[in-house]
Symmetry: C2
């Protein structure tokens, strides 16, 4: 390739789009975004409606394009000549029923399931997932008896797994090559709230998860970034694929500081047909702590940012959202360390000291 590519389209205007754009701009790539969102407000807009095929298809004029969210118009994607991931993969992943059927057809281990409507739920406990539109835990319910209120509509019923750990692997893949980021683990608080992500996952099963994630991407013949989420089943030790996401992922934010090529540089490279970058983690351990909204809504104020910045190996990121609401992702903090005890101590410090409060507008 002689000249360097000039423009990258992103479907979605959230924090993932913002972090892709900041990476792409290092190569002087002009970024155009379809979708509303403060985090990408500084970028050229190609339209505001992710679900409108014409808005999405406006990115056909770009040298390359990608998505930062999967709930987009697939018809629009189909009209973009160079889009990663491919429209067909987004269509498959948008429907958790099709996604699960793909796994079971290919012999990829996953929790037993059936595709159903709520009318036909039999056997409890069971995990009910809406086939479409759920993310970040929304659209998922555990039903323990017929008295528990179920979602209505097309859904997936899955066996309730006794989860020992939640692992995740991001696979970067172009037409000829695949590279895997180290497997990470979502660590929970004693009361089962997500606390932080640690990379690599401090468990022997991580290597099997990396192999399995590569296999999933290969079976799909996927191009782009594929985040593969796993349950490690207690007792049996089985690794079960929970679901996949066809884009940069919350479990890869630490790669900005911790890896030779961040997931955001990586998707820029893949979308523009450039070489895959090295995924090696360059410090022994890394963690990501989310900065979430508290109980109130309003104008965000980031407390103790000064304290975080004064701590070596601690890197705050703020996404540029103008309002905060309960549990909204407002930013994240990366922590690096040479050993696990130090990592955990710094993570505790960050968790104790970082707080997003809401001021009246």
């Amino acid at each position: 390739m002689a000249a360097h590519p000039k423009s990258l389209g992103i479907v979605g205007g959230g924090q993932l789009g913002r972090m892709i754009a900041l990476a792409a701009m290092e190569l002087d790539v002009k970024v155009v975004v379809v979708g509303r969102g403060d985090p990408c407000g500084f970028l050229e807009s190609g339209g505001s409606d992710l679900l409108n095929a014409d808005d999405v298809a406006s990115l056909a004029a770009c040298d390359g394009a990608t998505i930062e969210v999967e709930e987009v118009s697939v018809e629009g994607l189909e009209r973009i000549p160079r889009i990663v991931p491919r429209a067909a993969h987004v269509r498959l992943i948008q429907d958790k029923g099709l996604q699960k059927e793909f796994f079971s057809d290919r012999g990829i281990p996953t929790a037993d399931f059936s595709v159903s409507t709520n009318a036909s739920i039999r056997g409890f406990p069971v995990v009910q997932k809406l086939r479409r539109g759920g993310y970040d835990g929304r659209g998922v319910k555990v039903l323990r008896s017929p008295e528990d209120a179920a979602f209505s509509g097309e859904c997936l019923l899955e066996d309730l797994i006794d989860v020992k750990a939640e692992l995740s692997v991001i696979v970067a893949r172009d037409e000829t090559t695949a590279k895997t980021y180290p497997c990470v683990e979502q660590v929970f608080t004693p009361d089962h709230l997500a606390a932080y992500i640690v990379s690599p996952a401090p468990r022997p099963e991580r290597l099997e998860a990396e192999r399995l994630a590569s296999r999933v991407a290969e079976e799909m013949d996927f191009v782009g970034l594929l985040a593969v989420e796993f349950f490690l089943e207690d007792g049996t030790g089985r690794l079960l694929v929970n679901e996949v996401a066809p884009r940069p992922h919350n479990s890869g934010h630490h790669t900005i500081e911790a890896n030779a090529t961040s997931q955001f540089h990586q998707i820029t490279r893949i979308a523009l047909g450039l070489a895959l970058g090295d995924t090696t983690q360059t410090r022994p351990f890394a963690a990501t702590v989310n900065l979430l909204g508290g109980q109130d809504s309003g104008v965000p104020e980031y407390q103790n940012l000064e304290k975080l910045l004064a701590t070596p190996d601690v890197y705050p990121h703020i996404y540029g959202k103008t309002t905060v609401s309960p549990n909204r992702k407002m930013g994240h903090v990366t922590v690096l360390a040479d050993d696990l005890p130090t990592l955990r101590a710094k993570v505790d410090f960050v968790r104790a000291n970082s707080k997003v409060i809401a001021r009246p507008p």
Copy 2:
């Protein structure tokens, strides 16, 4: 500090401003730029004329401000309440005569000199430097006899030093603390052209250079980033301060990938009154190769970018300039390595394979 700072003003719209902005945006800092320049075209403009006091003073509305070039209106800087570096330091550094007098008054080793006009040149060879406006080697001449054409106007006459090496140290300093980046060396080709910068400088004198640079910043009571350039004199082994720059510097671009806190994150922190970041270099060796314009002017095309991106530990940066002209800085490439021979081999590869050519507009 409770909330996080919201806006950063930058005087100057070139590549240094762009790289500061990309760092600042990770903390959701809104960046406003005074000065024309493609690299900062995506940012909010506070005016186009660096030398106009009113344009520069428009940044007084920002929570903090800094400069990316020293030829700016000092009167404008004086009207900005929180500006780093201080206006008085910029005034001192703009005039190479005052700068040299400061060094000699404080006993900071520097080449012997006199302040003069060209009418009074006696004694050859001598280095003639214009007191104002020179940079990147412009405004500097070696005069070997009265026949050599001299600059007219206020100038500085310096002893011609027999230079063994050119070293540089960037000092980050706020009101209470100073941190020094490792000393780097500018490496030249056999025919005396700048080839690349290596960090740390592979010479024992680097530690003395770091101490001396700290002392210069301390004597000045400088706040901001101070790049201190040294000559290492052949024969005597003396380290002589050549000149200082009060801003992010070409000799610190590798810090984006190679150091815990890049020089661009660092100046953002200092300008906004946030804690200084750790300056530790996280890989044993780093180098910067400039991407310069060739013999022609036109629309830039970056050759072999694909080849560079396919090489681990090689990180190209392109500054977003819409036209290239001879020797114009269009970008740079950072190279990382665990040992010097590997670094040099990768630098040679980058130098052999990176070329900016000019297409007709």
